[in-house]
């Protein structure tokens, strides 16, 4: 009887650990999906002057955002494919709150770069840059440059609510 109890105990513990480890592994996926969902909602839910292009290359992303990849858990970036507009969506998940703070600095620098690029070139793009939505929630940092900044902010807030 004792022998049988021991076996059940061992098997039960193994099962418990398997479930626990699986849960840890699955945590990252949930966050990733969330970032994708937010970026996609913004692409689909707002009006854009031109079709946005998704950036999937890390080195291309770093052409625009000078982030330390050790700070970044996940990211998603959509930008103007022609460069004719300042329209952009960037969503980052930092590894922790401090990392998110540094990512936010990089996002603010990106906004300044956009201002520098467009102020003398296409002044009509300036309102969306000056009113850019830069939103942080926990480890997440979001940037949206769109003519309808109020709608963009509303969507982002609702997403994190």
């Amino acid at each position: 009887m004792k022998k049988m109890f021991g076996r059940f105990l061992a098997a039960g513990l193994a099962l418990l650990m398997t479930v626990a480890l699986a849960a840890c592994s699955g945590g990252g996926e949930a966050k990733t999906v969330k970032i994708e969902d937010l970026a996609k909602q913004l692409v689909d839910g707002l009006t854009w002057k031109e079709e946005l292009m998704e950036v999937t290359s890390e080195s291309v992303m770093q052409n625009y955002y000078q982030v330390d990849m050790a700070d970044v858990k996940y990211w998603a970036l959509y930008r103007s494919s022609s460069g004719a507009t300042a329209e952009e969506i960037a969503v980052f998940e930092g590894t922790d709150a401090e990392a998110a703070g540094r990512i936010k600095d990089a996002v603010s620098t990106r906004v300044e770069d956009l201002k520098f690029a467009f102020e003398d070139y296409v002044p009509a793009e300036m309102p969306k840059i000056e009113n850019a939505v830069v939103y942080t929630s926990g480890n997440y940092v979001v940037l949206v440059t769109n003519d309808d900044d109020a709608a963009a902010l509303d969507m982002v807030k609702k997403f994190f609510a």
Binding site: M17, T18, K40, E50, S59
Partner: protein
């Protein structure tokens, strides 16, 4: 009795250890499978617009897969990612081709016009630097040319390119020529100054300033081959409809391009007539190619890269 109990606990411990081992193995395999699914940046890829997928797939076929390692070169610390130097391996190949590149333009045509040739290899752009305005700046968004260096800025023109501090460097900004000078082993320089500024500058002044720019580029990188690219046509109607830019005519651009070709000949540099790849039957940019009359949609960037790969000087078919 004591031995039986010891044996019993020993067995339980062994079973536990085995369970931990198996669980760890399963978790590791699980994680690896996830990593493979999500890619190196941790983002799960979702579908690109069809036009972009088509462009990317086509150019992937042209360029192959391996690009982008050049940004790890050590001597580019003071420049942004986009202005990083070619890798030593790439530079070596670029260096090899420089000797043949530096031969006179008469090997191509008497005017320095680069004709169509066999397609260059995927490492062709490893030692290339692209200099220009917003059209050139757009190259940075395309993974397929991430092995090239881009020194460009929206709104820069032939007048301001020598003086405007447009390139981020070490927390500040420097001019494009200064950034170019800091690069090592540049094999070739592609320059294109587009429609910015031509509305308020007469053609003779434009060409004079362009000549000064070529001189400066040669001064910055005396061993690099210089390719002057023709200005791209515009869609006149889209520009008028949107009212975003000063009206520009393709007749004016054609005139400037013929002057640019002559200038290239005088300066002993090469001239690449990329504009011919973009002209429709009216001699202008097709409406579907551009969102605002001047800038290019994604598939037309691919046309541009494709044209450059098939218009190279002899001996410069890749790294």
């Amino acid at each position: 009795m004591h031995d039986r109990r010891t044996n019993y606990f020993l067995r339980v411990l062994i079973i536990l250890a085995l369970a931990i081992g198996i669980t760890t193995l399963i978790a590791t395999l699980w994680q690896r499978s996830e990593d493979a699914q999500y890619g190196e940046n941790g983002t799960k890829n979702y579908e690109l617009p069809k036009s972009i997928v088509s462009a990317v797939e086509t150019v992937k076929g042209l360029f192959g897969g391996g690009a982008g390692e050049s940004s790890e070169s050590s001597s580019s610390e003071s420049l942004p990612e986009s202005a990083s130097l070619p890798s030593s391996e790439s530079s070596a190949s670029g260096g090899e081709s420089t000797s043949s590149e530096s031969s006179s333009a008469s090997e191509v045509t008497e005017s320095g016009l680069v004709p169509e040739r066999e397609k260059a290899s995927d490492s062709y752009f490893d030692d290339a630097v692209f200099i220009g305005d917003s059209l050139t700046e757009g190259i940075k968004a395309y993974e397929l040319l991430e092995n090239a260096t881009v020194l460009a800025h929206q709104g820069i023109n032939v007048d301001s390119i020598l003086t405007k501090e447009a390139i981020s460097s070490g927390g500040g900004r420097i001019t494009i020529p200064d950034a170019l000078m800091r690069l090592d082993k540049v094999g070739k320089i592609y320059v294109m100054i587009g429609a910015n500024g031509i509305a308020w500058m007469d053609n003779a002044t434009f060409i004079k300033k362009y000549g000064a720019l070529i001189d400066k580029l040669e001064e910055c990188q005396p061993n690099a081959i210089i390719y002057v690219q023709s200005m791209l046509p515009v869609n006149e109607q889209t520009i008028i409809d949107q009212g975003q830019y000063e009206p520009i005519t393709n007749d004016s651009i054609d005139d400037l391009n013929s002057r640019l070709m002559k200038l290239a000949e005088e300066k002993g540099v090469y001239y690449v007539d990329v504009a011919e790849a973009f002209k429709d039957e009216t001699g202008g940019m097709p409406a579907e190619a551009t969102p605002d009359g001047i800038h290019l949609n994604a598939p037309y960037y691919q046309k541009w890269f494709d044209y450059l790969l098939t218009h190279t000087v002899p001996g410069d078919i890749g790294g």
